[in-house]
Amino acid sequence: MLYREAGQFKATYAADQQIFPIRQDRIGIQLLLALAFVAVPLFASEYWLKAIMVPFLVFSLAALGLNILTGYAGQLSLGSAAFMAVGAFASYNFMLRVDGMPLLVAFALGGLAAALVGIVFGLPSLRIKGFYLAVATLAAQFFIVWLLTKVSWFSNDSSSGVITAQAMVILGYEFASPQAKYLLVLGLVATMALMAKNMVRSSVGRAWMAVRDMDVAAEVIGIRIMHTKLLAFAVSSFYCGVAGALYAFAYLGTVEPEGFNLDLSFKILFMIIIGGVGSISGAFLGSAFIVLLPIFLDVLVQDVFAGLLSPTIASNMQLMVFGGLIIFFLIVEPHGLARLWQIAKEKLRLWPFPH
């Protein structure tokens, strides 16, 4: 009754092509943004901002990057954490070695560095496909982490490659409080999500999807495969790189190459599986799920089963629940939480008269 587009007429092409064609969606997204930008920093506690909201946003951005590559362009990657590492270390070095480097430019340069590395490791995708490619991206994962650990120049000669990110200062204002950090991350993530949403609606995104669905057919209808695949690797790595920079600067402050290991790559992969492969909102839903699930399980184990389970069994139960949930999602809803949300919207359109 409330969610219905009846009576909303489009008189211009611009109106027909807007991102959210239904008025209720527009209101909804505006409310959501208002909530995120105003209500959360006002009312959320410091713990929530620092330990939940910021990592949620950072991981959303990384998942967005992987989703562009895997969900839209169909190239499975197991190396997203390595591209995050490139972004983090590149931003750190730009800040360190260039005097008066503006923070946002350093983030962008970090992302560009990651994009370049992504193109290099994306080159094999022109020749190899499917699982072979997935394994090939593991080469990126191991090689980059090794390189960042071994070459001490990247970490300014600190022991075992640990870097401490510089303070975040923009135009003389230092983003030090949890609220300020959160707002900075939110602003960047929201902008980049909007850009991604537009990108996948444009000819670029359609070319990606054509390559994903059948690359031979895409080539036959005149899509340049090499250009399209490498662009997907570059854009995806750029997103992951900026996410890595935010991970280092806004979330942890101190990072080491080993922190960007294969587990983190898998974590990001799980986010897009659970959230929805090939969906922008899916990246956010999946990230929220993966960030909140361990906390929820911890609370559950501590409060409900307190004393019943030993800590080792409890932590192993977490692993089992985690693995089980991934299988469950793949079986029950292979398109993830985003698809559930879509189904809910379709139902809502007919409600309360289903015929």
Binding site: I128, A136, A139, V220, L269, F270, T312, F322
Partner: protein, 297 residues
């Protein structure tokens, strides 16, 4: 030259150990088209179960049978709970499901048997063979030689099983074409169960050998990561490929670590196999022995 030979032989023999794990991947991929990422977790699970049963005072052979039984149960469970509902899903979805399975099996193994590192004694010492050491000056570990022997027996047995038994023929038929196999009356689900059980057996053997070498611990799951370059080098669908790939990866990894590692600060064996496998892939995109992939529109 002597040193070179010693490194080469050591590498070849350690390559055999990678082949064990790669073999499990190949079996499942051939028969069901599933890229089973959980093979490493299965190796861990098998070894931990075996040691756990052994610690309860059960004799060696009975423990072996019981551990094999546990692997069969795991295989059947996987087929029933994970694979059957996911028929007709794209291969990538199945691959991701096996990543979930990896987490589950790792958690299950440690929840059942605890997470402490355990030793495993097979009765073969990891020491150089004396007469060979005296005659040529090259140290070859008895244990590595034993592992190579086991690999030879295992591969021969598997080859015979695939070639000459009824079940083996059915397995090859399923590997060739699921639908055609179904239409001539081969029970797909039974075949899949058998394949997972055989892969479980291979995982058990790999777990015992690796466990005796490095101790039964969580790091066993990383053997899967070592086996992946072997796999892409040899091709996903080839049993001989897994062996040859293992030998190439094992020897080149050791040689690179010894001769190149010194220049770049060491530790290159974490990524060198991958980069080498990648270089191979650029020339032969299906691996050395993989089936040629033909694109059809």
């Amino acid at each position: 030259m002597q040193f070179f030979l010693e490194v080469l032989i050591g590498g070849l023999l350690s390559g055999v150990m990678y082949s064990f794990v790669a073999l499990g991947f190949v079996l499942i991929y051939k028969a069901s088209g599933v890229f089973n990422f959980a093979q490493g977790a299965m190796v861990f699970f098998a070894a931990l179960t075996f040691v756990g049963i052994l610690e309860m005072g059960v004799p060696f052979w009975l423990a072996l049978v019981l551990a094999f039984g546990a692997m069969v149960l795991l295989g059947i469970g996987t087929e029933r709970i994970v694979l059957r509902p996911m028929v007709n899903q794209p291969p990538i979805a199945l691959f991701m499901a096996t990543i979930g399975l990896t987490f589950f099996v790792e958690g299950l193994a440690q929840a059942m048997w605890g997470a402490s590192v355990r030793g495993l004694e097979l009765g073969i010492q990891d020491e150089p063979i004396e007469w060979m050491m005296e005659a040529t000056g090259i140290g070859v570990s008895k244990f590595d030689l034993f592992a190579a022997g086991v690999a030879a027996v295992l591969v021969t047995a598997l080859a015979l099983f695939f070639q000459y038994t009824r079940v083996g023929r059915a397995l090859r038929a399923v590997a060739d074409d699921h639908q055609a196999a179904l239409s001539i009356g081969i029970p797909l689900q039974t075949i899949w169960r058998i394949v997972w059980a055989v892969a479980g057996f291979v995982a058990l053997v790999a777990g015992l050998i690796w466990g005796a070498r490095n101790g039964v611990q969580f790091a066993l799951t990383f053997t899967a990561l070592k086996a992946l370059p072997v796999l892409i080098l040899g091709g996903f669908t080839s049993v001989p490929g897994a062996i040859v790939g293992g030998l190439i990866i094992g020897s080149s990894e050791k040689l690179a670590e010894v001769y190149l590692g010194a220049y770049v600060g060491g530790g290159i064996d974490s990524w060198f196999p991958y980069v080498m496998a990648l270089a191979f892939l650029l020339i032969r995109p299906e691996g050395l022995f993989g089936e040629k992939h033909i694109d059809r529109v």
